[in-house]
Structure formats: C-alpha cells, structure tokens
C-alpha cells in the first residue's frame, strides 16, 4: 500500500518520502497468495476493487514492470448445495455486474472443470479475475516511485509521529527527522501502533498465512480455485503459474512472532492443506511440495481495512489492516489515497473503511488506561 501510494502521489506531483523499517513488501504484500480476485468481496468494496482491477491491467505501462499478472479466471467452489444459492445471490447483485459471474453446478460444473472432486457441488466463475506474483509487486511499485522522484528509505524504522504546529514530525530509529504536511500510515500489522499514538487504537490482530508450493509440472490448471465455506479448515485455494508450480494456501493461520518479526509456517498446516487438496482435486496427487512460507498479515474484526483520513488529526491518513485480501486492492488503494490526499476527496467509495467505526473501541481503551 505504501509503495503504490508513493507512486501515485508522485503522479499528483506531491513530494514524497517512503519510510520502510525493513525491506519493501516483506511482511504481507510479498508473501501472500497472489490472488487478483474481486468476486466474493464485501459488496461495498467492489467499486474500489474494480478501480484497482483497471489499474492492474495497465500496470506494465504505468510502472514499466511485469508483475506476472494473468487474467486466468477465478473459480469459487463450494461443497454444499445451499451454498450455491449464496453464490447465486452474490452474482445477482448490481455491484457484482462488472464481474460477469457465472454459476456452475451439477454435470455442467464437472464437464467444465473435470479435475474437481465429486464432493464439489457448485461454483462461481469470474472470467476476468486472476493472479500475479506478490514477491515482485511492492518492490516494483517502490522502484517506479523512486524513478518518478520519490525518496524511498529502506531499513529505516519510524519511532514516532507527532504533529507540532501545522506540521508532522516523523523521527526514525537511525536518528533522522522528517517534516511533512501530511502523513499516510501504511504500516500493515504495525499500523495500529501508530494510529494509537494519535488516540485512534483499533482492535487489530496479526496472523501468519500458510503457503506452500509444488514442484513444476505441465501448465494445465489455468483457473485460480478457491473454496467458499464457513468452515475455516476447508478454506483452501490454489493456482498454477505458467512455470508449472502450483501454489497452495489456506486451511489455517499461525500467530506471528511480533518480537522478532518472523512468521513461521507450521508444518502441520501443510498436512491440512494436502488433505483438503485431495478432496478438491483428487487426481492431483503424485506431486511434491518443495517449499512453504508465511508472513505477517493484519486483520480487523469485520475483515475490512482501515482506509481514509484520521478522525482526529488533520493531514493524517491511514491505509492498513487489509485482513488478508489487500493484494488485489493495492494499486487502487494507492491511487485513491493519493487522490484523497492531493485533492481532498475521491470519487471511489471508501466510507465503510473509516477508522471512525472503531470509535467505541477507542473510548473503551481510553477508559481502561
């Protein structure tokens, strides 16, 4: 979010300094599954997601880099008949119209996606959704921002942000001080620490996603598949990349070690994934898993991000807590935040994501302390 915002702020001609404690895209942006998925999102977020999708399609021209983005299609499948009705209801909403969703079930489902196991009852197919390479995305935006004139500082930890007079004063652990009229906090799992400094704490929790990847095999599974379910252990998703590797995620999370800033993959998560993979795609069996990884993501209780201006301090903005689905939104968030900070408003609806929705929590925290 920070790298994309820095890039788009430069497009508005703003002077930008991007401060990163470690390296760009290390914790959430670089380690996620890589879904560029719109279907299934909170309906109030689809406008932002659609805006972001339009940017994804233009990225090679915009940032002069290849993020391996492919509009391969995204298939959201379910194991229960009654869930098909829920997928249909979603597809029928006016907000989802741009997604061209199509619901499959029964024989048609298994003819169109013959590799799906017999337990799969239905699915919602989004032809334009796809995937990209998360390892490349945020650093590519940061390089583009730098080329466009932004100052990008890595390994530079922000220790405090204060507003003195009309100006923000940002100090870093290496003893530097930056002054600015506006500050945007895109610190992911650490965003709450900074918002709390301005009296706006939020009930943010951290989770480590669980990702694994197979050895490369011929490229045949071009559609991203994800399971729609209310059972967390069934939540599995996978995609194959043109090189042939199949990337698998889901089924569980771990608790990251925030002290050492490391998120470990729990080897037992892999067994859960393999069990669910055998159910989802029974014929995909005799492959090897060659690598697993995790990262540090931040979640809010309503699974929506914090995005927009501070409710308390003028000139302060937030974009963090993307609750495991920020990758697709990244370019859109960067563009909208840059628009908001440069023009004072945006045409894209971000009202549901305001930090003000946790005002009660702020009050509770204030009383508790």
């Amino acid at each position: 979010m920070g790298a994309a915002s820095a890039f788009f702020l430069r497009q508005h001609g703003r002077s930008v300094v991007l401060l990163e404690r470690d390296v760009i895209g290390q914790y959430a942006s670089g380690v996620n599954f890589g879904n560029v998925r719109r279907q299934g999102r909170f309906l109030g977020q689809l406008e932002l997601a659609n805006h972001s999708f339009a940017l994804w399609k233009r990225l090679p021209q915009l940032i002069d880099d290849d993020l391996e983005f492919i509009t391969s299609g995204h298939m959201r499948v379910c194991y229960r008949e009654d869930e098909i009705a829920e997928l249909e209801a979603y597809a029928a909403t006016p907000e989802a119209r741009e997604l061209d969703l199509r619901i499959y079930s029964g024989r048609e489902l298994h003819t169109r996606f013959p590799f799906l196991g017999p337990e799969v009852k239905g699915g919602s197919y989004a032809p334009h959704d796809g995937h990209a390479n998360p390892r490349l995305a945020a650093p590519a935006f940061a390089r583009a921002a730098r080329r466009a004139g932004a100052i990008v500082e890595e390994r530079c930890e922000v220790t405090s942000v204060e507003k003195v007079g009309g100006q923000f004063r940002v100090t870093t652990s290496n003893g530097r001080e930056y002054r600015a009229e506006q500050v945007l906090i895109t610190a992911g799992a650490w965003g709450e620490k900074l918002s709390a400094q301005f009296g706006e704490p939020v009930p943010l929790i951290t989770k480590g996603p669980q990702m694994s990847v197979t050895e490369p095999v011929p490229y045949v599974l071009k559609t991203v598949i994800g399971v729609y379910t209310k059972m967390p252990e069934e939540e599995l998703y996978f995609r194959q990349i043109p090189r042939g590797n199949i990337i698998i995620g889901g089924c569980s999370h771990t608790k990251p070690d925030m002290l050492n800033r490391r998120a470990h993959f729990d080897p037992r998560s892999l067994l859960k994934q393999l069990q669910q993979m055998r159910r989802l795609v029974p014929d995909m069996t005799n492959l090897n898993i060659i690598r697993t990884w995790s990262g540090i993501e931040s979640y809010l209780p309503d699974s929506l991000p914090i995005m927009g201006p501070s409710g308390k301090v003028e000139g302060l903005y937030y974009a963090f807590g993307f609750s495991g689905h920020g990758f697709q939104l990244g370019p859109g968030v960067g563009d909208v935040m840059a628009e908001l900070m440069s023009t004072g408003g945006t045409n894209t609806s971000i009202a549901p994501f305001g930090i003000g929705r946790f005002a009660d929590y702020t009050e509770q925290q204030r009383r508790a302390s």
């Binding site: 050895e215 080897p267 067994l271 069990q275 069996t285 005799n286 898993i289 060659i290 990884w293």
Partner: protein, 474 residues
C-alpha cells in the same frame, strides 16, 4: 516450551531424539545408552552408517576392504557398535525429518506422516557437496562428488565410462582413487587449487600426519596409474549438448594453456557444506566462518546451539570429517548429560576435546590447501546456470542485484528464483551468494544467507497423517 526444563527431567523420562545415524549420531547414541538413556534415532537412510560409512543395501556382499579401503576398520567398528545398540535405542530408519516446531519433529516414512516429541534434540545431519557452478553443469552426466561416491558405494556403478573429477578438496582425490580401484577410466583430475597452497598449509596438515600421508598416497596412486592430475586450473566450461549430455570439459591450466579433456561423465565438488536446515528451522543462531567462507551453526565446542535443548554434532556444525564426528558425537552426548545434571567423566571430556582440537587444526589446513574458489562466481559468464532446479542464469541473478536493487540473498531469491527450487538452495545458494556479492561489490558475508524453509526435502502430496495406533512396517 518443553525443552527449557532439561535439568528437571529424569533421564528415563527425557525424550532425546537424535537425527542422523552416521558417525556422530551413532557415537552420541552409544554414549547416551551408556548413561542409561534410550534415545530415539531417526535416519533418512534405509541403513545406518551415514555417508562415509554407508552400509551397502541388503543382498550386496562386498567385503569391508573393498568397500571402505583404508577406512575398513573404522567402518566395521562403527557398524558393530550400531548393531549392539539396536535393542537399546528406538531406531527408525527411512524416516525423513522434514520440519519442526519447538518440541516436535514432523517426520515422513514411506509416505506416512508422524510427529515425534522431544525434550532434547541432537542434530547429526552431516554435510552435502559444496558446489561452484561452471558453464554447462546442467548437462546430463554431471554429478556431485558425493553423488558419484554414493553411486559407487551403494550401487557399485560408475557414473560413466570416462570420468573427469573437477573441483578441489580431499574428496576429489578420494573419490577419484575409489573409481580407479573400481576399474573406471579416469580421464583427468582437475584441481582448482595450486600446489603452493598445499605446501603453505603443511604446518596445519601435519596435525594429522597419518591422514596427510594417506592423502599423499591417494595422489601417488593416481599418478602411478597415469591419470592426468592438474593443479591450479581455472574451469572454463563443460562441453556437450542437451540431447547427448556432457562430452568434455575445458579448463585453463596453471601455465595459462587451454586444456580440453574428453569425458562422458564429470564429478564436481569443492569440499563440503554442513546440512543446517533443521537447526535453522529450530531458530538456532548461525555465524559466518571466515576460514571456510560460509555460514555455520553457532555452537559451543560440545555442540550446544543457541536454542536450549537443541544440539548439533559432527559435520552438520563444521566440516572436520568422520573421525572428528565420532568424537563430536560423544562430546555432544556429554553436553546433554551435563545439562541434565548427570555426571560425565572429565577425563573422557578432555580426551575428546583434545582430539577435536587436533582435527580442527587439520581442517583449517584443508581450507588453506583447497580454498573455495569464490572468484569463479564473479567470473561466471551471464549465460551460465547458477540454480539448476529453476534454470536461472548468472545474468538473471545479477539483474536482480543491478536492476532491482537486491543485495541480500533472500531478496535476490525473491526476485530471481535462485534457491527457490527442489533443492531449496542446498546446491546453489552459496555460489549464488558469491555471484550477488561480486555483482554488488561487497564481501560475501554482507549478503547474508538463505533462510531455511520446510520441507527440508520435497514432500509428496500423498503424505497422510498416521492415525493414532497405526504403525509403519519397516
């Protein structure tokens, strides 16, 4: 965490797990059994012995002298010890430890998964070949020195009819002479280390005159058999093509002449690198070892790592060879006993420490005599493959440094895929680090090391968790 309470545990109740049944693991188990502990010994191989004293498969019956040559007595002694221990340890062969969490190992054996709880973990995971790429090393017919040795030892086959040995280090000569003895045609032994290096290393190598003499004898045998042996060569490229594999190798001799040697197989290696992935996953601290120019586990002289309850021994901590591994295994067992407040013999402790100090000095001599050819990485042409699993070239890796600003190993991996494939960097990450360091113009220590990730080896998607009560038939 369970492992922090070692001293409170009775030795009967303490769950001690040793990973690896080579010289270090065997001697460690022996010492623990003598102290009244029944360790669980997990080994990836079907039979004990590790690499150097690898036991031939059942049904093969070559005698010790044929199989192990000058090391026959040591091999027999180790195997006999192991056979005696079998009833007193919980030995689980053919079991790969592929991941771990504090206090628990994730294992797979014959496609079935099980977990093993531990209070103390002793990693005797040995070493693998240290490889420096050369243009063309992805062609069929190129093996690591260790791989060539296993082919001979375990399957009694040669990797080719006309074999070149290229690299540096004692294993180069050992495997070459083993091939000679087995009747293979050796086209040449090409050592990147110049002879003067060996002379300069003599004071340290004389710490173990017997071993030094045995090494000189190997060389003499090769020369007597009219095997061309060249010192101080600069490897240029491996010749051949994708369809028919290797057909030769091109090096520059110490005198600066071009030399092409025809062959149909080539064994490549530059000494060894410790297998530290499990220790890395356990969170053990590593440190850069200047002498060998690689990251090693940070242990004390008895094998205590930075993580309480986790120990490491033998070549998995530093490369000192099989003899040293036997001493180290015993010392590590003593470290565990001391940490459990159990008595250990101070004489034995002193004896093994002294022996290890001598071997440490000798090992320093080996690094002096057969240095890691770091400069080769910088000189690799852009087209040369660095990462064989992902087929990533030196040029692509350099672009991650110069165009994308990655001057750290894990960053460069994320951008270029070097170290991201099946081997998980076991065979390419050290050379990759050298390429990055050369491209960034910094010391290799500064580019860091590739972080370990499970699974330690590729894990079949068919792997299923054992249900309680289910046993694997071995």
């Amino acid at each position: 965490m369970a492992t922090a309470r070692l001293k409170d545990l009775h030795k009967e109740a303490c769950r001690v797990v040793i990973v690896g049944a080579g010289p270090a693991g065997t001697r460690c188990a022996e010492a623990l059994v003598a102290a009244g502990i029944r360790p669980i010994l997990l080994d990836e191989n079907r039979r004990d012995g590790g690499q150097i004293y690898r036991r031939q498969p059942e049904g093969f019956s070559r005698d010790y002298a044929t199989l192990y040559g000058s090391e026959a007595d040591k091999a027999r002694a180790l195997h006999q010890t192991f056979d005696r221990l079998r009833g007193q340890i919980d030995y689980r062969p053919d079991t790969l430890v592929w991941g771990l969490t504090p206090g628990q190992l994730c294992c797979v054996s014959q496609g079935s998964h099980s977990t093993v709880e531990y209070d103390a973990l002793i990693l005797c995971t040995g070493a693998t070949d240290r490889i420096m790429p050369i243009e063309g090393w992805q062609l069929a017919g190129i093996y690591s020195l260790g791989g060539a040795q296993i082919a001979l030892k375990a399957q009694a086959v040669s990797i080719g009819r006309r074999v070149v040995f290229l690299g540096s280090g004692p294993l180069l000569y050992l495997v070459a002479s083993q091939y000679l003895k087995a009747g293979a045609k050796i086209a040449a032994v090409l050592d990147t280390s110049p002879l003067r290096r060996r002379i300069a290393a003599l004071p340290n190598l004389l710490a173990r005159p017997g071993v030094l003499f045995a090494g000189i004898k190997l060389l003499a045998q090769l020369q007597r058999a009219k095997v061309p042996v060249h010192f101080g060569v600069e490897p240029q490229r491996i010749l051949g093509d994708a369809s028919s594999g290797v057909c030769g190798v091109h090096v520059r001799t110490a005198a600066g002449d071009d030399l092409q040697v025809e062959c149909d197989a080539l064994a490549l290696g530059y000494h060894l690198r410790p297998e530290t992935q499990l220790a890395d996953l356990a969170g053990c601290r590593m440190r850069f070892h200047q002498v060998s120019q690689q990251w090693l586990l940070d242990t004390d002289e008895q094998g205590r790592t930075s993580v309480k309850g986790v120990y490491a021994s033998g070549d998995s901590t530093r490369i000192r060879g099989a003899d040293a591994a036997e001493h180290a295994g015993r010392l590590t067992a003593m470290a565990l006993l001391q940490d459990m407040r159990q008595p250990v013999s101070s004489e034995a402790l002193a004896l093994h420490r002294r022996a290890l100090a001598v071997m440490e000095q000798f090992s320093q001599g080996l690094y002096q005599a057969f240095p890691w050819p770091a400069a080769q990485a910088g000189a690799l042409p852009d087209e040369a493959i660095v990462c064989r699993c992902e087929m990533i070239s030196a040029g692509e890796l350099r672009a991650a440094v110069s165009e994308k600003g990655a001057s750290e190993v894990n960053r460069a991996k994320a951008f270029s895929r070097v170290g991201m494939g099946r081997c998980q960097g076991r065979y390419c990450s050290q050379a990759g680090a050298e390429v990055i360091a050369a491209a960034a113009g910094v010391d290799v220590e500064l580019v860091g090391r590739q972080r370990g990730q499970a699974p330690v080896k590729p894990l079949s998607m068919l792997t299923e968790e054992l249900k309680p009560g289910e046993e694997v038939a071995l």
